[in-house]
Symmetry: C2
Subunit: 334 residues, 2 copies
């Protein structure tokens, strides 16, 4: 059984009110009594109940972090950033997985309501169209990270997919490629379109005619398998370089290339997106667009804190960063 302020009060021979005030340093309690009670609390191993405090103060100092699955290699760093800032500010994080299952998503939202979280962060979900109605009912701030729907009524932090994809494509053009393929993923509708737009913008700016055959949208599938299927871009359409929707897809393509004796980057250059951990470990190490995952998590939580303090915030669109490794090579090395 846990020690309460009443227990301390009984031992100290005062009311629980006095104990409460002494522990919080209230000025109307004499210095001596305060010291005595604090010492007593220490001795008795008193730990205040956040539950009772929450009931009274109507804040829980908890936030809900909703992910599809924490096993997605993109997410751990984001969560790390969120947790870091949250902990420093005295908040704790409920981690909840939705698994892209509509029923579980509803359960998650309902659970967060029951738990009276002070705010919610949602990553890479199709929130907005699916269970946006549910979310609007909730009275707490919500921040979306890389969401796949336009929810204007909510706050968001996202990477600039257009700029990132353009940067990657420009890199390929710069080193001499002209037949450049794009591998998209239909499971991420919004950012897929944006990355495609960035790819096209770079081509257009360079005066390279667009060829619809070079845009490959595999049927919804495992990200890795989508990359494997994309080999046809090289075999059928003779592209010399490919921009993949993300690193997993790029690694899938990379793996298939090895199996088919296609040398990367000599025969085919490959660029990914995200810069997950594994990107630097594959061989050849993957050229990619880095998303500042840790910072995105930190920013999301900072935004939450601002919202809770009634400060005004504005949505953030963060630039991607080109990380040149060894999976891309000038087509005509000089």
């Amino acid at each position: 059984m846990q020690v309460t302020i009443k227990d301390i009060a009984k031992v100290a021979g005062v009311s629980h009110t006095t104990v409460s005030r002494a522990l919080r340093g209230h000025p109307s309690i004499s210095a001596e009594t305060t010291r005595h009670i604090q010492q007593l609390a220490e001795q008795m191993g008193y730990v205040p109940s956040a539950v009772a405090q929450s009931l009274h103060s109507r804040q829980t100092f908890t936030i809900g972090m909703v992910v599809t699955t924490i096993a997605d290699p993109f997410l751990p760093q984001v969560v790390e950033g969120v947790e870091k800032v949250a902990q420093a500010a005295g908040y704790s994080v409920f981690l909840m997985s939705s698994h892209n299952d509509p029923e579980q998503e509803l359960t998650v939202v309902e659970t967060l309501q029951r738990r009276r979280v002070d705010a919610i962060i949602v990553t890479a979900s199709r929130v907005g169209s699916l269970y946006g109605d549910q979310l609007e009912r909730i009275q707490v701030p919500i921040v979306l990270i890389n969401n796949q729907e336009n929810g204007e009524f909510l706050h968001s932090i996202a990477v600039d997919d257009v700029q990132g994809a353009r940067l990657a494509t420009e890199h390929l053009i710069e080193v001499g490629h002209r037949r450049i393929g794009f591998v998209g993923l239909l499971t991420r509708p919004k950012s897929n379109v944006h990355r495609l737009l960035g790819y096209q913008a770079a081509l257009e700016k360079a005066g390279i005619p667009q060829d619809p055959d070079l845009i490959f949208l595999p049927p919804p599938n495992d990200d890795f398998q989508c990359g494997e299927l994309a080999l046809s871009l090289h075999l059928k359409h003779q592209v010399t370089a490919v921009l993949c929707y993300n690193d997993i897809t790029a690694i899938g393509l990379l793996t298939t290339c090895r199996r088919h004796q296609i040398a990367v980057p000599q025969d085919l250059s490959i660029v990914g997106f995200d810069d997950i951990e594994a990107a630097q470990y594959v061989s050849p190490p993957l050229t990619t667009i880095r998303q500042p995952r840790l910072r995105m998590g930190e920013l999301a939580m900072r935004m939450i804190l601002d919202l809770l303090n009634k400060k005004s915030v504005r949505d953030q669109l963060l630039p991607g960063e080109l990380i040149v490794r060894e999976s891309t090579l000038p087509i005509y090395p000089n």
Copy 2:
């Protein structure tokens, strides 16, 4: 402002007691009233307060999941398993990082006490010697996953490091290797020793004399860098195969080999431990010992549930599984 049972009571013209009972289907409330109130609750968007319920019932249906950092590639799957079982059982998970910082570890433990979590799961920490005293004070069940200290008073789930390392070493011996190196990590004292024991047991069983020079314990460092440093085993001591403490270390070694034009597996065979995601993506794909991470998380949470139900539980030592990929090769291919 959230709807409470009192609000419903006012609208329905009954006491809040009746509302409470109606919503829980108490038999002493008439069927008609029950139906009416439940319908009213639905309409008014009532969501019960877990905070108030916790205060009354003295259970929070939350558990604390303590990790060093969620960015460790070993952990996401474990957390996934925990969260999955927890959610199905109506529990929510607080994710807390300790960052191997003693001060933060204390903060974390104190926070979990304040939050009145029903149980705690700790992964791969030096718990027991460091802040074990703190943990013993807590009255809730604690389960450790792959802990690095012997805390006999606590419950644990761990992979069989001895068996796993023996399995890996036997594999190398079986394909013809006799000069086999071992790369350990001093940052994980307990499992490091166990894996070393497994390695030695396999050598002994095969009648291969032990050579202290082949056991390499790099100074505490980044796991990846430890792998890089281990190249000396090959350069100085002519080993033909190396068992690395974990996959990150193995990948570090792999990367350095590529840089030094050492062909893997032709010149050097490498075995890792853990089977993290990246292991299958590197080239050559890494032969390793798989830890059933998802299942370990599930088992940990199931054990928690059993403990909360006063069932007796026993510690689990799970076998590792040899995953043969392409980083190991017979020394004399036939």
